[in-house]
Subunit: 351 residues, 2 copies
């Protein structure tokens, strides 16, 4: 048993990565019931939505689970930047016969707050994880006061040391291979971001907390390799995207099974922060890293209507097709079967 | 014993990465005599230089060794690009009181050729490795005709399949963590480049040849992790840079032991092709990826005099400080001790 298993009370040293937009409580419940740590992404849930999902978690698993929040400082609106962003998107709006000024704001991503903690406290989730750092000290103390273990993500050794100094109980070392948003919060320089093979052992060496490896881990051999590099557990996201319990769209599922899934890139076009997804039309044409993109999470509002329109006609040209650099683990099997497969750690492939 | 050990006749599943500019035969000989595969970087050697080094190899080891060549298509001079590049470097020349037009051409990097094969044939080196693809079929057949095993580097699954189809005997899967030049030859899109954790198992799955993992492997735990992911061996470069047998400059050695070594980036400023090195002044000011840089290897000529001048006054501001993303394995010990340490594969760190 690793220190992570002991800390969180989980049978398997595996965390299912919280993936906002492509899963809800169903995936988290299935993973927790398989003995790993299921995660509920909460950054895009309203108070009532959060309460409903937590009620489902509580009623359908008696095993530990994780709830995940963002703790970014929301960017302030910048009229010049917005105008440049709108100008970049305008040709697509025109092609779709849509008016960029008539669109409602897209779904937001609010940072963790006292109001959210009020809802959480009713449920006392056993594990709370954060992306983009940690909440302010008083709020973090409140979360820990009800017994929750706290996890956050480091993309550099510096971030890992900061998280240890500021109260995390375990640290995710997020290698550059990982899908979705980079958890970076002490730098915005992408050249500081390392592959898992380089980042993981350096984080293990730098902190005394249990370290969870993330990025590129797709199967039991990957789990074994991460443990060999000193990880106390792994976090796996991409591999779960085809499970029936995930809410991954048909377009996203098709992309994951296409040859194109082998080419991902970091892009800021969908939210304002760099995140890894399958390269699609808008990433090719405006990025993948755009220079006129509003800050996180403001970029979403103007691109979301294009996504919605394109998806209605079966196109993922404007969709965030989040995926890591290793989609080889994606399988259309139950989350339970996938989880137990990751945990075999016996499959040593051909050498 | 892995398939790589059987193929190459080596006691340990370890290849010392060829590192032009920071090592010669002394490092390769020490590594081969320790039971791994020592590598002699030959891309910057003249015919006589090559012959001299090969005589040393032959006289000082009876064990297998590797000679490494580039097989790029040299870029054609482009006057407009050269002028832009000179304009970018001009302020540095002025600050140093140097005339950019009075400088001799820097050291070149010639691709593998029939003339080189003539020299090699006298020595029949047991292993020949290539960077940037493979030589044309007739030349490759000649190398193989004298019994040499041929290795080349893949940075994508597509490149691995190409190398297998074109006659390689083993393939290096070069993860994004690796120091020095990216071996990419079927794409110049850096977003196609994956971390070792993602690239390695996908290459192992895609080809039937033995696969050598490179990028981020710094110690015995890294070797164990790579083998768990299906590698038949590993290639390690950065960790050898502080060995006394390496010719790493004092400036480079100091940089590797400084906190700054934790921040590397891919840069094309020193040669025209992307290569990973420690971020220094010229990388910060003109790059790391510059847009007016001449093609490989033509960029070197105009920046080399700045490097030479700066190094004379103790500065690495204009030096290629090649290093991978994991310098934790750099130790000032003999290459033999370092090699044997990598091969213990028993050190499982804290979980």
């Amino acid at each position: 048993m690793t220190r992570l298993q002991a800390l969180l009370g989980i049978a398997l040293p595996i965390v299912q990565a919280p993936m906002a937009g492509v899963q809800g409580s169903a995936l988290a419940i299935a993973v927790s019931n398989a003995g790993a740590l299921g995660s509920l992404p909460c950054a895009m849930l309203s108070g009532d939505g959060l309460r409903g999902e937590l009620q489902l978690m509580r009623s359908q698993t008696s095993l530990p689970y994780n709830v995940n929040f963002f703790c970014h400082t929301p960017a302030q609106p910048d009229l010049a930047r917005d105008a440049a962003w709108h100008a970049a998107l305008q040709p697509y709006y025109e092609a779709f016969g849509m008016d960029i000024n008539a669109q409602p704001a897209g779904p937001g991503r609010a940072p963790f707050s006292a109001a959210v903690a009020d809802v959480l406290e009713e449920f006392r989730p056993p594990v709370v994880s954060f992306h983009f750092g940690l909440p302010e000290a008083a709020l973090l103390a409140r979360v820990k006061s009800w017994g929750a273990k706290v996890i956050s993500t480091a993309t550099t050794v510096d971030e890992a040391r900061w998280l240890e100094a500021h109260g995390a109980d375990a640290i995710i070392a997020q290698g550059l291979e990982a899908g979705g948003h980079r958890g970076m919060f002490r730098t915005d320089d992408l050249s500081t971001q390392s592959g898992t093979f380089a980042l993981l052992p350096q984080v293990v060496h730098a902190v005394s907390l249990p370290v969870i490896a993330a990025g590129g881990i797709a199967d039991a051999a990957g789990v074994a390799a991460a443990l060999a590099l000193g990880a106390a557990g792994v976090q796996v996201g991409t591999a779960y995207l085809l499970c029936p319990e995930a809410t991954t769209s048909a377009i996203h599922r098709a992309a994951l099974q296409d040859e194109s899934a082998h080419h991902t890139a970091l892009t800021n076009l969908f939210s304002g922060r760099p995140a890894r997804g399958i390269v699609n039309r808008v990433m090719r044409e405006l990025g993948p890293i755009g220079t006129v993109v509003p800050g996180f999470p403001l970029a979403t509002a103007a691109i979301a209507p294009l996504r919605a329109h394109a998806e209605k006609i079966g196109s993922g040209d404007f969709s965030p097709l989040w995926a890591g650099q290793n989609v080889a683990g994606c399988r259309e099997v139950s989350a339970r079967e996938l989880t137990l497969g990751l945990a075999t750690m016996a499959t040593i492939p051909r050498r």
